[in-house]
C-alpha cells in the first residue's frame, strides 16, 4: 500500500479539534505548493481532508477534541499519497462506509440532510483504502496532481 520511493512531503501530529483542521490543511497546501497543484485540485484536497478529519473527530473519537491524529503525505507518481491515522473506534463493520447515492429528483421534504461526507471522499480520493492495524485506523488514498502526470 505504501509507496516509499519518494520523499515525505508532510508529516504532522495534531489533536482531533475541528477548529484546528483549517490551519492543518493550510500547512499541507504550503508543503505541496512546489508540486504546482491547480486551484481546482487545492479545493478538492481541502474538501477531502476536511471530511476525513471531521469524520475522525465526530465518529472515531466521539467528538472528543484532544485525541491524536497523524497525517503523512508522500510524493508518489502523478501526485501524492496520504495516510491518516487515528487511535479511535474502528469503522463500523471494519470497512469504509459506502457512498450514499441519494435520488435528488424527489419532493423537497425527502431531500437528504446528511450522508454527503463519504460521497465527497469517495468521489475525490483515488485508491481509497482502510485498515485496522492494532488499535489504530489507517485511511490511505492517492490524490492526482495534473501538473505531475505529464512529468512523472
Amino acid at each position: 500500500m505504501l509507496e516509499m520511493e519518494h520523499a515525505t512531503l508532510f508529516h504532522a501530529h495534531f489533536a482531533s479539534d475541528p477548529e484546528s483542521f483549517g490551519q492543518l490543511i493550510e500547512g499541507l497546501t504550503q508543503a505541496i505548493a512546489g508540486l504546482h497543484p491547480n486551484r481546482d485540485e487545492l479545493h478538492n484536497l481541502e474538501i477531502l481532508l476536511a471530511e476525513i478529519l471531521n469524520n475522525i473527530a465526530e465518529h472515531a473519537y466521539c467528538e472528543r477534541n484532544d485525541c491524536p491524529i497523524e497525517l503523512l503525505v508522500w510524493r508518489t507518481n502523478g501526485g501524492i499519497t496520504c495516510n491518516v491515522i487515528d487511535r479511535g473506534q474502528e469503522m463500523p463493520g471494519g470497512i469504509l462506509p459506502p457512498a450514499q447515492n441519494h435520488a435528488l429528483n424527489c419532493d423537497r421534504s425527502d431531500l437528504p440532510e446528511g450522508g454527503f461526507g463519504w460521497a465527497l471522499v469517495r468521489t475525490i480520493a483515488r485508491d481509497l483504502g482502510y485498515e485496522r492495524i492494532g488499535g489504530t485506523n489507517v485511511l490511505h488514498f492517492k490524490f492526482t496532481i495534473s501538473y505531475l502526470l505529464s512529468r512523472d
Binding site: 475541528p18 477548529e19 483549517g22 486551484r39 481546482d40 479545493h43 478538492n44 481541502e46 474538501i47 476536511a50 471530511e51 471531521n54 473527530a57 465526530e58 435528488l104 423537497r108 421534504s109 431531500l111 437528504p112 440532510e113 446528511g114 450522508g115 454527503f116 461526507g117 460521497a119 465527497l120 468521489t123 475525490i124
Partner: protein, 114 residues
C-alpha cells in the same frame, strides 16, 4: 458567522458574513435561517459570496433550511465561489437549488419582481 437580511418586497436577500459553514457553525446557521424563514417572504436568496468553505455538515444545514420553508416559499442561492461551488457540484446539490451567478443579478431580479 452572522446572517444579515435585506427585504425587497416579497423577497429577502440573506447575506452570510463568515468564511465557513462547517460542523462547528452548522447549528448556529440553521437557527438563524429558521428565524428568517418563519413568516418571511416567498423568495429567499442566500448570498454565499463571503463564504470560502462549506463542508458536508454545512451543506446539510442549507438543505435543512430549505426543508423548513413553507409551501409557498423558495430558497435560492447566489455567488458560490471556489470550494463552495465544488461541494455543490460534487454532491449534485447544484441540481436542487436555483443558483444565481452573482448577488447583483439576484438583487436586480428581486427589484424587478419585488
Amino acid at each position: 458567522m452572522e446572517l444579515i437580511r435585506q427585504d425587497f418586497g416579497d423577497a429577502a436577500l440573506i447575506t452570510v458574513h463568515g468564511k465557513r459553514i462547517d460542523a462547528a457553525g452548522a447549528i448556529h446557521f440553521k437557527d438563524q435561517m429558521r428565524a428568517h424563514i418563519q413568516g418571511g417572504p416567498a423568495r429567499i436568496i442566500l448570498d454565499l459570496g463571503e463564504v470560502e468553505f462549506v463542508d458536508s455538515s454545512g451543506l446539510g444545514a442549507i438543505v435543512t433550511s430549505m426543508k423548513q420553508l413553507a409551501n409557498h416559499q423558495v430558497l435560492e442561492l447566489a455567488t458560490l465561489r471556489g470550494a463552495v461551488e465544488k461541494v455543490f457540484h460534487l454532491t449534485r446539490m447544484d441540481s436542487v437549488f436555483t443558483i444565481h451567478a452573482d448577488s447583483g443579478a439576484a438583487i436586480s431580479d428581486l427589484r424587478k419582481t419585488g
